[in-house]
Amino acid sequence: MTIEADPAAQFADFAHPDRLVSGDWLEHHLGAAGLVVVETDEDVLLYETGHIPGAVKIDWHTELNDPVERDYIDGREFAELLREKGIKRDDTVVIYGDKSNWWAAYALWVFSLFGHNDVRLLDGGRAKWEADGRPYSTEHPQIVPSEYPVVERDDSKIRAFKDEVLAHIGHPLIDVRSPEEFSGERTTAPAYPEEGALRAGHIPTAHNVPWAKAAADDGTFKSADELAAIYRAGAGLRDGDSIIAYCRIGERSSHTWFVLTHLLGFNDVRNYDGSWTEWGSAVRVPIVTGAEPGEAPRS
C-alpha cells in the first residue's frame, strides 16, 4: 500500500479499516505522491460545480460501462481510462461522491473487478466534506497520463450472474431496494424513473435491507456494532456465508457489498449487477411478492 491508512478511531472496529479515510486525513494528504482522488456522482455535472482540489472525475455511466453491451468496460479500456486519469496500478485511490457515496461505492466495486489493490472511500462523501466546510475547486487538475497495465476483469469472485443467482436461491440473498420495490408495489425506487423491469417483486428467499440503512444521517457509515445489528442480527448473516446482494442495476448493492466485505468482513460477497432490471424482465424465473422473503420454488 502506497500511503498509510487513516488511523482514525471511528474506523478501528471495521474489518478493513484501511478502506475508509476521513476528511481530516484526506485534506492533510491532498497532493501526496501516490494518491489520486476520484469523484463519482449520480449527477454528471456536480464535479464541475466544485470538487476536492486535484480530484479527477470518473462517470460511472459514460466511462465505466460498455457503450453498446450491458457490461463493464474490459481490461484494455480500463487501462486506457486510468492512464487518461493519471492513475497508476500501485496508487492509492480515494473515491467520493454524492448520495452517501452510493455511486462512489459502485466505482470502487468496478475498480475491484480489475483488482486495483488500494482503493478507498472518503467516509461521508461530498455531503460530509461540504458540511465540514472543507475546500472545493473548480479548476481542472493538470493530469499527467500514467502507465497502467492491461489487467483482465475478474468476474468470478465479487460479481454474480443470473444463473448463479438462480442456483443461490435459499442461501443468503440481500435485496437492498426500497420496501415498495421489494414487495412488488413498484419496479423502481420512489421518485426514480422507470428503467424497464416488466415484473415487480423480489427473488425468493431474499431479505430486504435497504442500502441506506448502512448510512448515518451525515452520510458516513454507521458503526461496526450498528451494522452488525442490521446485517447479522437483523438479516441473519453469519460468518462463512456466501452472500449475493442485488438492487435495480447493481449500484445500490455495491454500497451494501462494500459494507459486508470491507466493514463487516464477510469474505464471499457478490454483487448481482443484472439485478432487478434483468430478473424482473427475464422469462420463467421465480418471483415472490409481498413483504416476506418467501419460499424457494420446489424443483
Binding site: E42, D43, V44, L45, L46, E48, T49, D59, H61, T62, D98, A191, Y192, P193, E194, E195
Partner: protein, 141 residues
C-alpha cells in the same frame, strides 16, 4: 424548431465535448428564481417524476397566448437544473403553437448524449412532454 431553441442547440454543437458540460453548467446557474407570487403556492407545480432529482414545473400562458415556463430544482442536482433552464429560457415567450410544435426529441439532439448519457437525458424529454401537456391544458382552459 423555434429559432431560440435552435440557437441553444447550435451553441452546444459548436463546442468541444468537454466545453459542452461547462455550457450546461452555465444554464444550471442561470435557472431563474421563481417570481415572488409563485413562491407562495407550491401546489401550482407539477413534479417531474421521471427525473431522479426533485424538479417541479409550472406553465403559464398569458393573455397574448405567450408561454412562460417556471421551474425549480435543487443546487445539488445541477444537471437537472441545466435541463430545466434550457427549456425555461428556450421556450420563454413563444406562442402556444410554437411550443406544441417543438420536436419531442429536442433533448436528444442537443449533442449531449455521449457526455451525459441517454438515460439522464430522458428526464429532460419528460420535462418537455409535461410542459406541452400543461400548455394543452391551459389552452383547453
Amino acid at each position: 424548431m423555434p429559432a431560440q431553441l435552435a440557437t441553444i442547440s447550435e451553441d452546444f454543437h459548436a463546442m468541444e465535448q468537454r466545453d459542452r458540460l461547462q455550457l450546461l453548467l452555465e444554464y444550471a446557474n442561470e435557472l431563474p428564481a421563481l417570481p415572488e407570487h409563485y413562491r407562495e403556492d407550491p401546489t401550482l407545480f407539477e413534479r417531474v417524476e421521471e427525473c431522479q432529482s426533485p424538479v417541479f414545473l409550472f406553465v403559464d400562458v398569458d393573455d397574448d397566448s405567450r408561454v412562460h415556463v417556471f421551474a425549480t430544482a435543487p443546487a445539488e442536482a445541477p444537471t437537472t437544473r441545466g435541463f430545466a433552464s434550457i427549456l425555461v429560457q428556450g421556450l420563454e415567450g413563444l406562442s402556444t403553437a410554437e411550443v406544441l410544435a417543438t420536436p419531442g426529441d429536442f433533448p436528444q439532439t442537443l449533442g449531449l448524449t455521449a457526455l451525459v448519457s441517454p438515460l439522464r437525458i430522458r428526464g429532460m424529454t419528460a420535462m418537455l412532454a409535461r410542459i406541452k401537456r400543461q400548455v394543452r391544458e391551459r389552452i383547453a382552459g
